[in-house]
């Protein structure tokens, strides 16, 4: 990817919200992510798939107390990509010197 180009996988607002939400956490439950980001199941699934394909997140499915649940976490590649993306954003903002 060119050095001055923003990562398109992260740059979409919903995906940006997902990545920033996951950044301080080890993982988040799908429902928690959906409620906190105020998006629908389908929208969230679509964006998670996109991020998963890029290798930025891990989507683990399982069950708890007989209920189907899924957990999402950022991979180390995803974390690095996010940090680079944040740095890139700061570079784009002109500083008043």
């Amino acid at each position: 990817m060119p050095k001055n180009k923003l990562d398109e996988v992260i740059h979409a607002p919903n995906r940006l919200m997902i990545c920033s939400f996951l950044m301080p956490l080890e993982f988040a439950e799908f429902q928690v992510l959906r409620d906190e980001l105020e998006v629908s199941d389908s929208v969230l699934s679509k964006h998670l798939k996109h991020l998963e394909e890029a290798g930025y997140i891990r989507h683990k499915k399982g069950s708890e107390n007989g209920r189907k649940k899924s957990w999402v976490s950022l991979t180390s590649i995803g974390r690095k990509a996010f940090v680079n993306y944040s740095k890139q954003l700061h570079r784009l903002i002109p500083t008043n010197k």
Binding site: L16, M17, P24
Partner: protein
């Protein structure tokens, strides 16, 4: 050229705003709940009483500390922030969480005072004051509660 740069800068600012908002939501989930603080304070008191009064059950109570930590981990998706390695905190130095100086002072005070409280309660126990270790345990619980609560409020005010 200038217009393009202004547009990029505006987009970057909007993106940073989104990052900030989402991160704050996530950080709010890391805040230690009241039940966690109370459980830890009670366990500290019990640990003190069990060691100073009964002279046993120290290890099982010590292991009990893990339960609230794991429950909090499962619910919030993160370890309590005092267990989080500093390098991992908030995305590699975007913002580093610093503990409250008052909470640190209370923690140091607990570590310094505990042996003295222990010795004093043992002496009182020998003198026939049987409730001394219990009272000491309760006092220690209250101090620990205050310490974690101060730390939590500091975290809430500064980062969430």
């Amino acid at each position: 050229m200038h217009d393009l740069r202004d547009k990029d800068a505006l987009q970057a600012q909007q993106a940073l705003k989104i990052i900030e908002e989402s991160k704050r939501k996530a950080i709010a989930r890391k805040v230690l709940p009241n039940w966690f603080i109370i459980t830890n304070a009670v366990l500290t008191g019990l640990l003190f009483i069990s060691i100073s009064y009964l002279g046993k059950y120290g290890l099982p109570i010590f292991i009990l500390y893990l339960i609230p930590i794991f429950i909090h981990y499962k619910r919030s998706g993160s370890w309590p922030y005092f267990l989080t390695p500093a390098k991992d905190v908030l995305a590699e130095g975007v913002e580093e969480i610093r503990a409250s100086p008052i909470a640190n002072a209370i923690l140091i005070l607990v570590m310094i005072l505990t042996p003295f409280i222990f010795i004093a309660s043992q002496e009182m126990l020998i003198d026939g004051i049987y409730y001394a270790p219990v009272v000491s345990g309760i006092i220690l619980s209250l101090i620990v509660y205050a310490g974690i609560a101060v730390s939590r409020n500091h975290y809430l005010k500064k980062y969430a």
